[in-house]
């Protein structure tokens, strides 16, 4: 047994005391520079896109503010934001499975006040990842801020209610079928009626199954036309909002009030794939870049009630250009509206508008995802069927 060393014990205790005192007196470390996210509505009230609404659903307004270690806004910052949709969940699918795991937008812009304002319609429930980079510009410079913000969007409560009603109906169908089919067949000599009735019912079922099989197999076989089939029909356009119904905005390139504003990029897109756009503002005479602010709105223009899928409001780059990428999740016609306001003194009342129509091709959900959900629903029917079948046989057994 080693000899107890009193000297070592005293030395260790003294050293630990010094360390403790040092820690208590050490100055508190300031928080690092970061990017603060505020949303409108607040995060606890954000819901996913709800189809077939009678009124326009507003996108979520995302405001990203770069702040320094003291909490004061940073100025003259180049900001980049990328939003990623939640990861795929085939065993608990959303109504836009093609969008799961894809990129919804990416945009880089110079923010004189350190603030980036975006709008996004969240297509599905789940955890979105908002990746933000803020690089201070200018002579003072500073470290680049990189931040990953998680935005959790809950499912629409109406879906749970409707599924509960469906589950009740399926349970009823299962119980009814199990009770009837579970009845013991008493074969009586000379009795003809029950057999033809059952044969008739079974025959009718076979015909119905064959008809349904034909319809569904034909639909699946026509996959070359799937994109057209999964796009929305052109409904009757309704004047839900003057702002969203701007059919008069010219397309492509516009020269107005000394400004030449051009929008380029994809004119067709596919759900689940990113589409790229660029806007450029130059002086109409000198062709030199013009500084100013842009307001971008990507509107779902062919739905009966128009709504904004993506938006940005802020400064255009010093080279007069802004590029962004947007993942459009609804298979329907969209229109990208751009409104430019020059920053030069005396020109702030000038507004130049340009638009680009984008046809978005819908994609049918994967077959295995649909089969999984069908399996759940059929499982409810089958479970209730087995329960009722067993109860009926037990009852018939007792009576006999």
């Amino acid at each position: 047994m080693p000899k107890f060393n009193l000297t070592s014990l005293i030395s260790s205790s003294g050293l630990m005391s010094l360390l403790a005192v040092g820690c208590l007196n050490a100055p508190a470390k300031s928080a690092p520079a970061s990017v603060k996210l505020t949303t409108e509505p607040s995060l606890d009230r954000v819901v996913p896109y709800e189809a077939e609404l009678e009124t326009t659903q507003q996108p979520v307004k995302l405001t990203l503010q770069a702040i320094d270690s003291t909490g004061s806004p940073l100025t003259n910052v180049r900001m980049k934001a990328k939003l990623l949709a939640p990861a795929p969940t085939p065993w608990f699918t959303t109504d836009f499975p093609i969008v799961e795991g894809t990129q919804l937008f990416e945009l880089q812009a110079d923010a004189p006040t350190g603030q980036l304002q975006l709008q996004q319609m969240f297509p599905i429930r789940g955890n979105y990842q908002l990746q933000v980079t803020a690089t201070p510009l200018g002579a003072t410079g500073g470290e680049t801020i990189q931040q990953n913000i998680t935005i959790t969007v809950p499912e629409n409560s109406i879906k749970y209610q409707n599924f509960a009603i469906l589950a009740l109906l399926l349970t009823g169908a299962g119980l009814g079928g199990g009770w009837v089919i579970g009845a013991k067949r008493i074969t009586k000599a000379g009795e003809v009626a029950p057999q033809p009735v059952r044969l008739l019912l079974s025959g009718a079922s076979v015909v119905a199954i064959a008809a349904l099989l034909y319809v569904n197999v034909s639909a699946e076989m026509a996959q070359s036309d799937m994109s057209a089939l999964m796009s929305h029909p052109m409904g009757k356009a309704q004047e839900t909002s003057t702002e969203l119904n701007q059919k008069s905005i010219p397309a492509g390139t516009v020269t107005s009030q000394g400004i030449k504003l051009a929008i380029t990029g994809d004119k067709s897109a596919t759900v689940g794939k990113i589409a790229s756009f660029q806007v450029k503002a130059v002086d109409a005479k000198t062709n030199k870049p013009v500084a100013g602010n842009v307001r971008i709105q990507t509107i779902n223009s062919e739905s009966e009630v128009k709504w904004v899928a993506f938006g940005y409001q802020g400064a255009i780059g010093s080279n007069g250009q802004l590029a962004w990428q947007s993942g459009l999740f609804d298979g329907s016609g969209h229109q990208v509206n751009v409104e430019f306001t020059p920053a030069a003194v005396g020109q702030q009342g000038t507004k130049v508008k340009v638009a680009q129509v984008v046809d978005v091709e819908g994609v049918a959900p994967p077959l295995y995802v649909r089969l999984i959900s069908l399996g759940y629903m059929t499982g409810i029917v089958a479970s209730a069927f087995l329960v009722a079948f067993w109860l009926r046989r037990r009852q018939d057994g007792r009576l006999n």
């Binding site: 189809a51 109504d95 959900s373």
Partner: protein
């Protein structure tokens, strides 16, 4: 003397069709196909007519 029972083919078919496993299978298949047609088929006519129901029901993927 043993008598061999002769069950004709039509009678065998009837017996098989009316058997519980076949009837149960037919019924569950009919339910499954009906559910597929209402909630999952890509047929445009059906997709458009039940579009709202599909988007408002949990576990139903539309596009």
């Amino acid at each position: 003397m043993l008598q061999k029972s002769t069950v004709t083919l039509p009678q065998q078919t009837i017996n098989a069709t009316l058997s519980t496993p076949v009837q149960s299978g037919l019924y569950l298949s009919l339910c499954a196909l009906t559910l597929w047609t209402v909630y999952f088929t890509t047929s445009p006519v059906i997709h458009d007519s039940v579009h709202s129901s599909r988007h408002h029901t949990l576990l139903v993927s539309c596009h």
